[in-house]
């Protein structure tokens, strides 16, 4: 069609629009619904009972009530997290046994057999392979448990009720109630949580949800929290109470994360993302029995494997880097030791140490390898000879780990600050990549990556200063 004809058409349209007034949209929708009502009346055959949804109504009244709404929600989420953490232990152990205890020595022997030079063998098998093995065995089981359970709740229709219950809290911080869902999804995996923000329509509120998702303690960080809490906080009280106190500390850190989510959402909506008022219209679908097998299959394919694949892609080079820095020597010291010494002063300033900082730098790809890296670096730094020299490892018992860390100069303050820093630091590179994929903006990706670290340093600094006041 010619350009002038198009212009002609548009002119006619706007002329008519002036005549009909500015509410044609209302007229149109009302017209459609009028037709719909007529057709529905002709075709719907209702029989019997006037109140067909009484069960759902009752269930809703309990699940969204002032009294039971929040307790039930917290209970369900705790059960899911508990099942995930506990249930993942065993398969994780099996996988770790297979990849790290069984296959690793075979590969090493094989490499020696075919005469691979030590550096290539170390680089590939002790570096890349070990990192991959670690990521798979620590990451796969919890995700394979967490995501299907989450999807089942979603299909059952409970998740919209969670958004409904929590909306008033999110509204106060300028965000959307659906952020409750992406936040809980973040407890499984931040990258998946960031992808899940797609359910939020408004770009502004979606961005808030993306940026603050990192404050949800993800699967990769729970083990770190639990280990450190057991070693340093659990030890403060008699044995009988220690696991209770450690659990409370871990839950406290997770709740602190929720607090930071609200706080930073509020700050963002008052400053950088100021202006646009939230809208909220949410359908609360009827409760329906979920389709178990399809759910298991699709959540495994759609969420778990995609995230795992991304994590592996990032973990492989990280493994290589970790091996390289501990095995390249300048003079008497390995690169790792040089960096640790260099960072130590800075780290102590924040109540951390050089080992922790270096571990967080090289373990950006996956939070799962932070603890093995810390142990490896501690051993290397203490110049202990023996197993694990220049190779990531984990110790069989918590007591051994505790002894090693204390030998590395760790105190209660270090433990507390590591827990805080594990909550408040940059997202893992999988998440950073996902944030870029979702926002298509370098600016926001960089912001979302830097903001939590700055916050982490601020908080650990404050804790350290206050600590020093009392000690």
């Amino acid at each position: 069609m010619k350009e002038e004809d198009t212009q002609d058409l548009l002119d006619l349209a706007s002329e008519l629009r002036w005549e009909v007034g500015e509410n044609f949209h209302d007229t149109l929708v009302e017209g459609i619904y009028a037709d719909a009502a007529q057709i529905a009346q002709k075709t719907e055959i209702k029989q019997g009972e006037p109140n067909p949804y009484s069960f759902e109504r009752k269930l809703d009244q309990v699940l969204t009530s002032k009294k039971y709404g929040f307790p039930i929600m917290i209970l369900i989420l705790s059960i899911i997290l508990w099942l995930t953490i506990q249930g993942a232990n065993y398969p994780s152990g099996l996988l770790a046994n297979f990849f790290l205890e069984f296959l690793h020595p075979i590969l090493k022997t094989g490499a020696t057999h075919i005469g691979l030079p030590w550096w290539l063998d170390g680089f590939l098998i002790d570096g890349v392979y070990l990192a991959l093995g670690w990521v798979i065995s620590v990451m796969l089981p919890p995700m394979a448990i967490f995501f299907p359970m989450f999807t089942l709740l979603e299909d059952f229709g409970y998740l919209p009720r969670v958004a409904f219950n929590l909306d008033s809290l999110f509204k106060k911080s300028g965000a959307h109630g659906k952020q409750a869902l992406t936040m809980s999804m973040g407890w499984g995996c931040n990258a998946a949580g960031v992808v899940a923000t797609r359910i939020i329509d408004s770009p502004r509120e979606r961005l808030i949800a993306i940026i603050t998702n990192n404050f949800s303690l993800c699967n990769g960080r729970w083990p770190t929290q639990i280990l450190i809490a057991t070693i340093f906080i659990g030890a403060l009280v008699p044995d009988g109470l220690s696991s209770l106190l450690a659990s409370i500390a871990v839950i406290g850190v997770a709740l602190l994360g929720v607090g930071f989510t609200f706080l930073s959402s509020w700050m963002l909506s008052k400053t950088l993302l100021k202006g646009e008022v939230s809208t909220f219209a949410l359908e609360l679908p009827p409760y329906r029995p979920p389709n178990l097998w399809t759910t298991l299959y699709t959540s495994l394919i759609d969420r778990t494997l995609i995230v795992l694949w991304r994590a592996m892609v990032f973990a492989a080079p990280a493994g290589a880097v970790i091996w390289l820095i501990s095995n390249i020597y300048v003079g008497d010291l390995s690169l790792a030791n040089i960096t640790i010494d260099w960072m130590d002063g800075f780290g102590l300033f924040f109540g951390l140490n050089g080992v922790i900082l270096l571990a967080y730098v090289v373990a950006i790809p996956a939070n799962e390898i932070v603890i093995p890296t810390i142990l490896m670096l501690t051993v290397a730094h203490l110049n202990l000879i023996g197993a694990g020299d220049g190779v990531m490892f984990e110790l069989e018992s918590t007591t051994e780990t505790a002894a090693l860390l204390r030998a590395g100069g760790w105190t209660l303050l270090t433990g507390i600050n590591l827990m805080l820093f594990s909550l408040l630091h940059n997202p893992c590179s999988t998440t950073i990549y996902t944030i870029y994929q979702e926002t298509k903006s370098w600016k926001w990706t960089v912001f979302a990556s830097i903001m939590p670290v700055v916050l982490g340093f601020l908080v650990t600094f404050l804790v350290t200063q206050i600590w020093q006041v009392f000690h």
């Binding site: 219950n165 008022v277 219209a281 359908e283 260099w342 800075f346």
Partner: protein, 359 residues
């Protein structure tokens, strides 16, 4: 390494209280940054770029246009007061405006030339188009529209304004009910009377709410009054007016009320006695939707319509969230949760009538 170690030693050497001082310092810096951000619109006059010659010229033209259309006269002193710019600076700019043929000066009176009038209208056009844009396409709160448009009116070119006009579907009125001048400088005028001056028991429709001065505008929008709303005067006295709108009784001082313009209802319009906001429905009550307030615009309005909140629909408030907000309404056999500020936009009539027992 040594640098950090030294810093560490430095800090360690300080008395603990001094460290707390540092903490307080960091906090107070954060606080100042936050306050500056929060009140950036109110503190805008602090910023240097506002007073460029172009924007002062344009603000002057607008002011002169408003003065002329209310058949008043003005002089340097009044202009200086209105724009909050020193007289000296006004004098300088007025001089160059006279040279450019935008204004005429006779004695102390300043009047617009034809060119100046057209220029002023084009600025008003951009201002009102931008307010329309903000109301339709963005979620900015309406208390911010005016200030944002005040800045934008000096930045958009006429071509960009034209494009905006097309994209908005060639609107005729801005969200405050003011007519938008056409590109040729024509403007429809719809005149109403101030709500302060009309007798008791009159029913009328709000057609215009003046958005300046800001403090008065804020008071008006706090009462959730809006263009298109029907009002019924309950009492009109010297110092204040009391009237009813959408089921709420509102008392305003005469000064505030005189910024609200109303017209009598047309022959097709009926004042609906029982018309209230959806937010006033309580648990288990039924209602029929009478319509969505014109105040609800753009994507928000379309979303509500798509979800089926249209004239004639029956609905029930099924239950409320733990904090009474949001609330879940059942309509067409579907549960939909809305926040209360959205429910404020939906006008209903409470009803006992229950079509089939299962709405």
């Amino acid at each position: 390494m040594s640098l950090f170690l030294e810093m560490k030693q430095l800090f360690a050497a300080m008395p603990p209280l001094l460290n707390l001082g540092y903490v307080l310092l960091v906090f107070s810096i954060l606080l100042v940054v936050f306050i500056l951000k929060k009140y950036q619109y109110s503190l805008r006059w602090l910023l240097p770029f506002k007073n460029t010659e172009k924007s002062i010229t344009e603000d002057l033209l607008k002011q002169l246009y408003h003065v002329a259309s209310s058949r008043r006269t003005t002089d340097f002193k009044m202009l200086s007061g209105a724009l909050k710019i020193p007289e000296r600076k006004i004098l300088k700019i007025v001089e160059s405006m006279t040279q450019n043929g935008l204004i005429k000066i006779s004695g102390s009176h300043i009047t617009l030339t034809e060119t100046g009038r057209n220029y002023a209208l084009s600025i008003i056009r951009i201002h009102r188009l931008w307010e329309k844009y903000l109301s339709e396409k963005t979620g900015f709160d309406k208390s911010l529209w005016h200030d944002l448009a005040e800045t934008k009116e000096h930045q958009l070119s006429n071509e960009e304004a034209e494009q905006l006009y097309e994209e908005l579907g060639r609107p005729r009125f801005d969200p405050h009910g003011d007519p938008i001048p056409t590109a040729l400088g024509e403007m429809i005028s719809e005149t109403g009377t101030s709500i302060a001056g009309i007798p008791k028991d009159t029913v009328a429709k709000i057609i215009h709410i003046e958005d300046e001065p800001r403090s008065i505008y804020r008071q008006i929008i706090k009462e959730k009054l809006h263009i298109g709303a029907h009002v019924k005067i309950l009492a009109s006295e010297n110092h204040h007016v009391i009237f009813e709108s959408e089921g709420h009784s509102i008392q305003l001082s005469t000064v505030v009320a005189s910024n609200i313009q109303v017209v009598p209802l047309s022959s097709q319009e009926v004042y609906e006695e029982g018309k209230v906001r959806l937010s006033s429905l309580i648990e288990g009550e039924h209602a029929t939707i009478l319509g969505i307030s014109t105040e609800c615009r753009g994507a928000n309005r379309r979303r509500l319509l798509d979800l089926g909140f249209i004239k004639g629909t029956l609905l029930t408030l099924e239950y409320m969230g733990p904090n009474q907000n949001p609330r879940a309404y059942r309509l067409r056999n579907t549960l939909i949760a809305l926040r209360n500020d959205q429910a404020d936009f939906i006008l209903i009539e409470k009803t006992q009538y229950d079509r089939t027992g299962s709405l």
